[in-house]
C-alpha cells in the first residue's frame, strides 16, 4: 500500500491523470469507430517527429538555466540549414545531411551568443528566453523577405517578395528518416524505423554526454552552483555549453520534424515551437531544475498521444473538435504546475 502510494507520489498526480486519460482515449477509440492501429501509428510517428525537440530541453534544465523557451533560436538555425540545403539543390539523404551540417553550424553560433547573454541574467532566464526567441523569430521574418534566395521552389512567383511561408520538401528529402528501414504491420500500422533510430541515437548521445566528466560537471553546476564552483567547475562555461547543446539539438529536432511533416514553415512558424516541447517534458515528470531521458520519452509519448487521440476520439463523441482547446489547457496547465511547485517538491 505505502509502496504504491510512494510510486504515485513519485510519478506525480497530474501525470497519472494524463496517463489514465490517454489510456481511456485508446480504450474508447474502437467503440467510436476510430481505428486503433492508425491512431497508434500516428502517435508513434509524432513521437519520433517531436522527440528531438523535447530532448533539446534537457541540457539547459540540467545546467540550471530552466525551461528553454528560447528554443525557437535553434529552430531558426534548422530553418536556415534546410533552406540553404535546398538552395544548393541537394536531394535525398545527402541533402538532409547537408541541412543538418549547416544547421549545426548556425546553431552553435546562435547558442554561443544566447548562452553568454543568459549567463548575465541568472534568475530571469525563462522570460528573457521567451522574448529573445520571439524577437529573433521576427528578425528572421525580415531576413526571409530580403535574403537573396533564388531556388524557384522556395520563392514566390510573380509579384511576391522573399521566400514562401511554407516550402515543400518533396523531391528533396521528404521522409528520408521515416522511410529508412520502415516496416509495415497490417493495413494501417507503419513503423518509422529510421525516425526512431535517429531519435534513439540523439538520446543515446545525450545520455552518454551526461555520463562524461563534463556532463556530470554540468549537472553539478545546475544542482548547486556554489558547491560546483568550490569543486573547480567553471559554472558559466558549463551553462554556455548547455545552451549551445540545446540550440543544436533544437536545430536537428526541427529538421527531423520537417522531413516527416513534409513542409518547412518559415516566418511566424517557429513562434510557439517551444511551448509544446516544454509541456511534453513536464508531463513526462521533469521539473524546472531536473530532467532525464525517461522524462523525455514518457512525456513526448503521453503528450503526442493526447494530441493525436483527442481530435479523433473526442470529435466523434461530442460532435465537436475540441482538440485545440484541450491542447492549450493541458500543455499550459502542465507548465503552470511545474512553475508553481515549491522548490522542495521540485527536487
Amino acid at each position: 500500500m505505502s509502496g504504491a502510494r510512494r510510486l504515485l507520489a513519485e510519478f506525480g498526480l497530474p501525470r497519472v491523470i494524463i496517463a489514465l486519460f490517454l489510456l481511456g482515449l485508446f480504450a474508447a477509440a474502437p467503440l467510436v469507430g476510430v481505428s486503433l492501429a492508425a491512431s497508434l501509428s500516428d502517435t508513434v510517428v509524432r513521437f519520433g517527429m517531436n522527440g528531438i525537440l523535447v530532448l533539446a530541453l534537457v541540457p539547459m534544465i540540467q545546467s540550471g538555466c530552466g525551461l528553454n523557451f528560447g528554443l525557437p533560436l535553434g529552430v531558426l538555425a534548422g530553418l536556415l540549414g534546410a533552406t540553404l540545403s535546398i538552395e544548393i539543390g541537394l536531394t535525398g539523404p545527402g541533402g538532409f545531411a547537408a541541412a543538418a551540417g549547416i544547421s549545426l553550424g548556425f546553431a552553435a553560433l546562435f547558442g554561443l551568443g544566447y548562452g553568454v547573454l543568459l549567463n548575465r541574467v541568472k534568475g530571469g532566464e525563462m522570460m528573457i528566453a521567451t522574448y529573445v526567441g520571439f524577437a529573433s523569430v521576427m528578425f528572421m521574418c525580415m531576413a526571409w523577405l530580403v535574403l537573396p534566395y533564388r531556388s524557384p521552389t522556395m520563392i514566390w512567383g510573380f509579384g511576391g517578395e522573399g521566400l514562401r511561408t511554407t516550402i515543400s520538401v518533396e523531391g528533396f528529402w521528404l521522409r528520408v528518416l521515416d522511410d529508412f528501414l520502415s516496416v509495415r504491420i497490417g493495413e494501417e500500422f507503419r513503423f518509422p524505423t529510421g525516425l526512431l533510430l535517429a531519435f534513439g541515437a540523439a538520446a543515446a548521445l545525450v545520455w552518454g554526454f551526461f555520463r562524461l566528466r563534463v556532463g556530470t560537471a554540468m549537472t553539478a553546476a545546475g544542482q548547486n552552483p556554489v558547491y560546483a564552483r568550490a569543486a573547480g567547475v567553471d559554472v558559466d562555461r558549463m551553462r554556455t555549453l548547455s545552451v549551445v547543446l540545446s540550440t543544436m539539438l533544437g536545430a536537428l529536432g526541427i529538421l527531423a520534424f520537417q522531413q516527416s511533416f513534409g513542409f518547412i514553415q518559415l516566418y511566424q512558424g517557429p513562434f510557439y515551437m517551444a511551448f509544446p516541447a516544454v509541456a511534453a517534458i513536464l508531463i513526462g515528470g521533469a521539473s524546472v531544475s531536473r530532467a532525464s531521458l525517461v522524462h523525455v520519452l514518457v512525456g513526448t509519448f503521453l503528450f503526442q498521444g493526447i494530441l493525436t487521440m483527442t481530435p479523433s476520439v473526442i470529435n466523434s463523441v461530442v460532435k465537436a473538435d475540441m482538440s485545440d482547446v484541450v491542447r492549450v489547457i493541458v500543455s499550459n496547465g502542465m507548465i503552470l504546475y511545474a512553475l508553481t511547485r515549491r522548490p522542495a517538491e521540485g527536487r
Binding site: K319, A320, D321, M322, S323, D324
Partner: protein, 155 residues
C-alpha cells in the same frame, strides 16, 4: 450591532444596490427594433382599415410620412416610448393620436399597428412581438464540419 455584522449588512446592501443598478441599466439600455405598420388589421371581428398617408413620430422626433400599407423600421432604446400619429385626411377626417407604447425586455423587435393605435385598441393589439422566420436548417453534417481551426488564431 457588532462590527462584523454591520460590515456584512453593508456588503449585502451594496450587492443589492449593484443588482438593482444593473437591472435598471439593462432596462434603459435595451435596444428594440420597431416596425411601424400602416396596414389594415382585424381586431375582434372588426376591421380597421388603414388611413391614407399618416405622419408618425416617436418620442417627439422628426415625423415621417407613411403611405397606406407602408412600413417603417425604427431603432429605439428603452422600454417606454411616445408614439404620435397625425392623419391629414381620410375617412375619419383629420385627427391626431398620441399614446404610450411599452416594450417587454425580451422582445428584440415589435410591430406597431398604426390603425389599431388610431382606433384606441388595447396595448396588446397595438404592439405585437415580431420574430424573424426560423433559418432553414443547415444539414447536420455540415455543422460538425466547421472546425475550430477556422475560428481560432493560427499558431
Amino acid at each position: 450591532m457588532s462590527r462584523t455584522r454591520r460590515r456584512a449588512f453593508l456588503r449585502a446592501a451594496l450587492l443589492a444596490g449593484a443588482v438593482v443598478l444593473g437591472a435598471w441599466l439593462a432596462r434603459t439600455g435595451r435596444a428594440h427594433t420597431l416596425f411601424l405598420d400602416n396596414a389594415a388589421v382585424t381586431l375582434g371581428g372588426q376591421e380597421h382599415p388603414a388611413p391614407g398617408a399618416v405622419e408618425v413620430s416617436l418620442d417627439g422626433g422628426k415625423p415621417e410620412v407613411l403611405e397606406q400599407a407602408e412600413r417603417a423600421m425604427r431603432q429605439v432604446v428603452g422600454p417606454v416610448h411616445r408614439l404620435a400619429i397625425e392623419v391629414r385626411q381620410g375617412p375619419g377626417g383629420p385627427r391626431r393620436v398620441e399614446r404610450e407604447i411599452r416594450l417587454p425586455f425580451g422582445w428584440d423587435a415589435a410591430v406597431v399597428s398604426l390603425p389599431a393605435a388610431l382606433a384606441g385598441a388595447p396595448a396588446g393589439a397595438v404592439v405585437t412581438r415580431w420574430q424573424p422566420p426560423p433559418p432553414e436548417d443547415a444539414p447536420a453534417e455540415q455543422m460538425i464540419q466547421q472546425k475550430d481551426a477556422d475560428v481560432l488564431p493560427q499558431r
